[in-house]
């Protein structure tokens, strides 16, 4: 039931409870309660908008950084990950299997600022063994949305 509501909200967070009630067949009151509860227990983290900033000509630089770290006794990777993800420059942070441990996405106004962040903040953290920085050149798809999708195909009239 909650998952029915969340599946719709995930794609359109602006949808109103009465509309959700209509689409799921659940009472509106119940929908509002479920949403409040999901917000309270952090099942719903935040309501966001996916924006193509390039349309505004906004200059923003992003880099994906592969970070190799030494896990620590009792806390494993979590403590180092927290020291990294607490920085507001860090947009996302994942622990991965494979040749490196953390994948960190960092954003900044210029390439220099991002490079400085890696050199001065991230790399010196105790336990960080190494960092490989990949600057992002182009976004094709963001959060499931194709950025420059040209899929507006006009359908021809048909009888059926």
């Amino acid at each position: 039931m909650l998952s029915d509501i969340l599946k719709i909200l995930e794609n359109d967070s602006r949808i109103t409870p009465d509309r959700l009630a209509c689409m799921t067949g659940l009472p509106e009151g119940e929908i509002s309660r479920e949403i409040k509860q999901a917000e309270a227990d952090k099942t719903i983290l935040k309501y966001k908008t996916v924006i193509n900033w390039e349309k505004l000509g906004a200059e923003q630089v992003f880099a994906l950084i592969e970070v190799k770290v030494s896990p620590q006794r009792d806390v494993g990777f979590d403590a180092i990950a927290e020291r990294i993800y607490r920085y507001p420059e860090v947009r996302s942070c994942y622990l991965l299997s494979g040749t490196y441990d953390l994948l960190v996405m960092v954003g900044g106004k210029t390439m220099q600022l991002v490079a400085n962040f890696v050199a001065q903040k991230l790399a010196p953290i105790e336990g960080v063994q190494g960092a490989v920085t990949h600057f992002l050149l182009k976004r094709y798809k963001e959060d499931g949305e194709i950025i420059d999708g040209n899929d507006d195909i006009k359908r021809e009239p048909v009888v059926l």
């Binding site: 799921t24 067949g25 048909v158 009888v159 059926l160």
Partner: protein, 398 residues
Amino acid sequence: MTSQVGTDKGFISDRAKELKPSGIRKFFDLAAKMGSGAISLGVGEPDFTTPWHIRESAIYALEKGYTMYTSNAGLLELRQEISKYLYQTYGLEYNPETEVLITVGSSEALDLVMRATLNPGDEVLMTDPAYVAYPSCVFMSYGNPVQIPTFEANNFEISAADIAPRITPKTRSILLGYPSNPTGAVMPKAKLAEIAKLACEKNLLVVSDEIYDKIIYSGFEHTCFATLPGMRERSVIINGFSKTYAMTGWRIGYAVGPAAIIQAMTKIHQHTMLCAPIAAQKAALEALRNGQDDVRLMVEEYDRRRRFIVKNFNDMGLSCFEPKGAFYTFPSVRKTGLSSNEFAEKLLMEEKVAAVPGTAFGESGEGYLRCCYATSLKDIEEAMKRFRHFLKHNCPQM
């Protein structure tokens, strides 16, 4: 005679001349002229694009050089997969070598089964309202379509009791189309079983068009007609990929049934169509093998739109029975005092919303509109606003 199509110079056959143009066409032509801002609830076509893995499999097939004919009956691999799918879904066993035929859309299958089974003057019983092509297919095979009225009060279902009095010595078959285009109605198993019994008693063939069998809601369970006692040997099941997998433009359908009928259909198919396009058959194969999750997601989305549109129609006073299949609603416009045609035409002209008058599907469709909800929720919301605006101005009594 001159018309939009020019002078016929006596070249056109009587049958083609007598064939009634579809009542839907007129509305699409009008809607096409409306230009931007028009919203169509008219076309029975999923708004989803075919899932990428299915499209990709066709691209791969073309890259690999699959550009040739297939056997007339279609790729054996696809026939085997269909056979397997029907066994897993309904417990039905069809021999892929002799009892499965791949067609160019389910429309071709429908045409073939009529051509393969009807002699001139044979009667085919079907519902009214019914999908526009049903009577036409029968007519083009020199048969006589006999439409039996169904009613909202009975959820647009048809019963053996409705059918029995219409059986004559000329009756050859019963053509069923459930889940239904245009009403969205479904048939409970018990009612189908009664029809199966009647078909046995009267030695009738049953053609069951089950193109919407996977697009069902509210926990309804679809019964494939061939699973009913005695029906495996006297029914032809028609299905396809267009609706279930959002593959309308690929034109792949199929028919399964007793070998004698499928072989007769294949004979006609090989002289007229030869075979269905190979890349599209490859895509259909991928759809069957790996497309079930896509179907579930699309049906979940249709279901949300269905609840939304049905509630909106009922709230605005256009009573709308709950469709449990396909992606159509069939709201009643009787209370407005307008005929189906008047309502649809005025709605299009004044509000730029295209819906199809129920009468396009038979006389029993008078008083109803067919509205397809396989369109984006945003468009459905806007269409509902325009319906309300229309009612306020044209039917202040409501």
